[in-house]
Symmetry: C2
Subunit: 306 residues, 2 copies
């Protein structure tokens, strides 16, 4: 029985979920992962956000990089480079095992949800991790008059492109992966992890049915602001909020989630915004949201799940 549903992007979500798994039973936790930033590279299907969550919960994440497997080597990708191929997306040799198996199973007609469950089993992850959809949805960045694939924007160009618009190719016709709507409907609580609202949570909310299901459970839904004192800890969440017309602040995050969350957890640094946000109808919890140690993650998870 799922009692907690968490919507998750990459690094921030993974750190939070590591704490959450210590205060709720992982068996009763469904993590809905963003696959809008999936990519096909060298014929391989890569799901960066799912992998960051999976590796983190498995205890094998490279915490310094924030992605990939700790102590991984890069002989494969360096060989590709020396053969003259483009290698802006770094894949470790151990990490590669995940992508090769995922690609093989997908080619054998398994769904991405089935593959993810199998990989999580192999990595000893007890929480249930599911892609938001089994279908192909790809986050695209409109910059100037060019449309850029998400990972080109994020990794290749290091988020330097101006973001004029964001869209989720394929989302309109995609279905939520099996079990997501039911879990949202029945969960005790729904947690939107501290991820980039537009680029990481946005794709999940763009899958028809998911946003609507959460709206019906608004009273049980809490989000954690990934913006602290106007800045994202990591990644371009602040820049993207601003360029999409939101304030780069807890207030901006609240605006983005308005209508389907009841409670917002904001950082102590943003305490001054509490009264104003309450006036907008949000229940506001102040907490320390920077997660450096596992204890920080557990504390924040207690606040969010409490």
């Amino acid at each position: 029985m799922t009692t907690t549903v968490a919507l998750a992007g990459g690094v921030g979500a993974a750190k939070f979920l590591r704490g959450l798994c210590q205060i709720v039973s992982p068996n009763n936790l469904l993590i809905v992962g963003n696959t809008g930033d999936d990519l096909e590279l060298y014929g391989l299907h890569i799901s960066p956000d799912l992998d960051i969550v999976m590796y983190t919960l498995a205890g094998v994440i490279d915490e310094t990089k924030g992605w990939g497997i700790k102590d991984d080597t890069f002989y494969f990708i360096d060989s590709l480079r020396s053969l003259g191929f483009e290698t802006w997306f770094r894949i470790g040799d151990r990490d590669l095992a995940t992508h090769v198996i995922r690609t093989q199973l997908l080619a054998e007609r398994a769904t991405l949800a089935e593959v993810t469950a199998q990989l999580c089993g192999k990595f000893g992850v007890k929480a249930k991790l599911t892609p938001m959809t089994n279908e192909k949805v790809r986050t695209k960045i409109l910059s100037g008059d060019r449309t850029i694939n998400f990972q080109e924007y994020f990794v290749k160009n290091e988020t330097k492109d101006e973001v004029k618009d964001v869209f989720f190719q394929g989302a309109d016709n995609a279905e939520p992966a099996p079990g997501i709507i039911e879990a949202i409907t029945q969960a005790e609580r729904i947690i939107i992890c501290p991820s980039n609202p537009i680029l990481s949570i946005g794709p999940i909310l763009a899958i028809p049915g998911i946003r609507e299901a959460i709206m019906k459970r608004k009273a049980e839904t809490v989000a954690i602001s990934p913006i602290i004192a106007g800045k994202a800890l990591k990644g371009p969440a602040d820049k993207v909020l601003a360029s999409m017309g939101y304030e780069a602040s807890a207030r901006g995050v609240a605006e983005y989630y308005k209508g389907f969350i009841n409670r917002l957890v904001i950082d102590r640094a943003d305490s001054a915004q509490k009264p104003e946000l309450e006036k907008l109808g949000f229940e506001i919890t102040i907490a320390d949201t920077v997660m450096k140690r596992i204890e920080d993650s557990v504390s924040l998870a207690k606040v969010a799940a409490g």
Copy 2:
């Protein structure tokens, strides 16, 4: 203009070809490689014999193992093992780059010949290497009443299975890769490398048209016996000749190639068989056929091409 065509299996052929490339212009050499021992593993298309030849001519072969890339690491395959997957076919991290690119290009509808040409270009191999066919032909071993895939027989079971019969699935309907028949027809010489006659050269000869084309050029065709004093230097050529009803000897090799070679190069250790083989109609050249150093390969190549 192709002036030399070489039919090649794996390690023995590769060592010989390394010498041959020093005495004929690589630009005028077409190497027809065996793909009967190709396999699909983890969704990857692996061509062991093509790779051994390519890596050897590129100077990156692991000479100790006889396959793979020197100083390669095995983090990818060890990760697969620790995740609980079967890993009897060892793939190095650098070697993997080749298989991933090959698989990707094939998925994008390139032919195996085109992919091989592209990979050889990347590796700086000047000789033209082509698979015997662009189609799927797979060497199968009948052992008892079981049919075993070639690499399971060769690598997984370490050639311990009794070989009752050998067949080349898909060969009857396969076509030679583009250019092979023309090259054989026009070549100054055709060399059958010192490879396993039945398991490495057999698949090439099983592609309709190749054997017939060589028969027409019998006078220009020479083979090098891979059997020395009744033994194969490496691999099961002796055992397989015996179990398929041939003598495990230079004579057995001569019998197998009867009708489409004119000249056979045999090892000095087998000099005593010369008169008898000459009586069977072969021109016999005695040589030192063990190739330990590059000089040995060059000497043998001079004898074969001479």
